[in-house]
Point group: C2
Chain length 302, copies 2
């Protein structure tokens, strides 16, 4: 069977129409080239080149054959390029999983956009999942990166990076007459109000802790838009990330800050601590850089 060397030698002779020049270009001796070309011709059973001891030219069939030779060399080059880019982390496959509120926070769009411009030949997939499943999916190599709503505790094989900062606020039905309209809401005032609890229940638990009561949970919908809808329908309250104030306006729902120190929220990116796929490593670096830019801008503007 011919190997790539034969194809490279054939292509070189065809380019130069001279064994001497082709041998120089290839860095081999003329006899070596001559013998190898002969081997290829013997194997194929046809002359690729016609030659006097003074001139070399392609035969008719040789001319037709050259198209296939170029194909072989091109695909071999493409394979090595692909290998190089995979090892350098310039291409490959990147699987992102995210909770719905990562899209509201805008971080998902920014990340995917940045990935596409940094790694244009990479395949990037992004699928929404419930927050409960996401860390496990990263652990099990079913996805490479997860975007979840902070805070979250991680098993030792995973590590997280804070990508956006936010804090919890209360979203409550306008039908409720809670004291101090316009002012920060006291946690204790929610003792007897029905609670709608989003996937990230940390805010709810913290408010209950501050108010020293067990929250009266009436529903735990899947998405934040459902949470707000339920708040309106059930004359209830929900403790949700402040970011939603700017993203969602729903008739009958008002937002109130919560009295006391801000309850931290934000989006966290989760990856495997021992990540060894170069593209994913690069993606993490790019994300960190992007986050630094965002926080720098934020620092300047506000």
């Amino acid at each position: 069977m011919l190997d790539l060397r034969h194809y490279r030698y054939i292509a070189a002779v065809a380019r130069n129409l001279s064994f001497r020049l082709a041998a120089a270009e290839l860095g081999v001796s003329v006899p070596t080239l001559s013998v190898q070309i002969s081997h290829a011709e013997d194997y194929l059973g046809m002359q690729i080149f016609a030659r006097t001891s003074r001139k070399v030219w392609l035969t008719r069939n040789g001319t037709v054959f050259m198209a296939a030779v170029d194909d072989v060399l091109q695909s071999a080059r493409a394979a090595e390029d692909l290998g190089r880019n995979l090892t350098r982390g310039m291409t490959g496959e990147l699987r992102v999983g995210y909770v719905g509120s990562a899209a509201y926070a805008g971080i998902l769009q920014k990340m995917v956009g940045r990935f596409h411009s940094c790694f244009p030949t990479a395949t990037i997939t992004a699928e929404e999942h419930v927050m409960e499943d996401l860390p496990r999916m990263v652990s099990d190599h079913r996805i490479d990166v997860a975007l979840v709503r902070a805070p979250v505790e991680l098993p030792p094989d995973l590590c997280g990076y804070a990508l956006t900062t936010d804090h919890f606020v209360a979203a409550l039905s306008q039908d409720l007459q809670v004291a101090g309209a316009g002012l920060p809401l006291r946690a204790a005032a929610l003792r007897d109000v029905p609670f709608i609890v989003p996937e990230q229940e940390f805010g709810t638990l913290e408010v209950a802790r501050r108010g020293k009561f067990e929250p009266h949970v009436v529903s735990t919908p899947g998405s934040l838009i459902s949470v707000l809808t339920q708040v309106a329908l059930k004359r209830a309250v929900a403790i949700i990330p402040n970011m939603l104030r700017t993203s969602i306006h729903l008739e009958g729902v008002e937002f109130r800050d919560i009295e006391g120190p801000a309850i931290p929220s934000g989006i966290v990116g989760i990856v495997r601590a021992d990540e060894d796929i170069p593209l994913v490593q690069n993606a993490i670096a790019v994300t960190a850089e992007m986050q630094a830019e965002m926080w720098r801008e934020k620092g300047v503007t506000g």
Copy 2:
């Protein structure tokens, strides 16, 4: 640089997901395969396969890389197939040159049609040229096959095959009052008639020889349709292949057989005597076969 062996080994392991089975399939020992896969991985700088001493599977990057591996192997296979088909004369390039009247005789269409069905992957070109140039074009390797109007004398490096048989007839203007309407035309009767001479002037010369006169040549147009037109316009006569009777009807022109033994015409295929391109050799064989079929049919029907 990786060569085709590496790609074949990688593909085999990926198919079998086992070094043992892949080695058996490839007909090499397991250690050989193991070392070669390692070489490829070292060269690329990435793991293609992950393995415990009990299981083998593709890495993420390995999966992406396999597409390129398949490309390389497919193009290599295609190249060898092409080489084989070129050697066996099943594909390649076939250049046909023909005189216009070969198309009227139908032989050109039959030939090209037959070529396409026999050699579907071959590239077949057919160009019209003046009869004078065609034998030289074959000699000079500018075309592979020439279809000309018999008779023709050939240089020793060419040889010809009679493909169709025909004979010359007279096409003459109806305005001429030549004796013996409806009967074979006597050559001597054309002594004072203006002659339109087609590319193949043999018929004209033979008629003049039989009539023992120098023909009064008034025009030598390029195509047979022009010859007939000129016959009508110039109240002249032309000695042309009988085949045209069935192909062309032109107002003001009548056809008359010529008295005496039939003056032979027909289409001749010309090729190089030392032709060494397998496709062309096969094309000649196919044409000969086709001609035999045609003559057999003719013998049966008439």
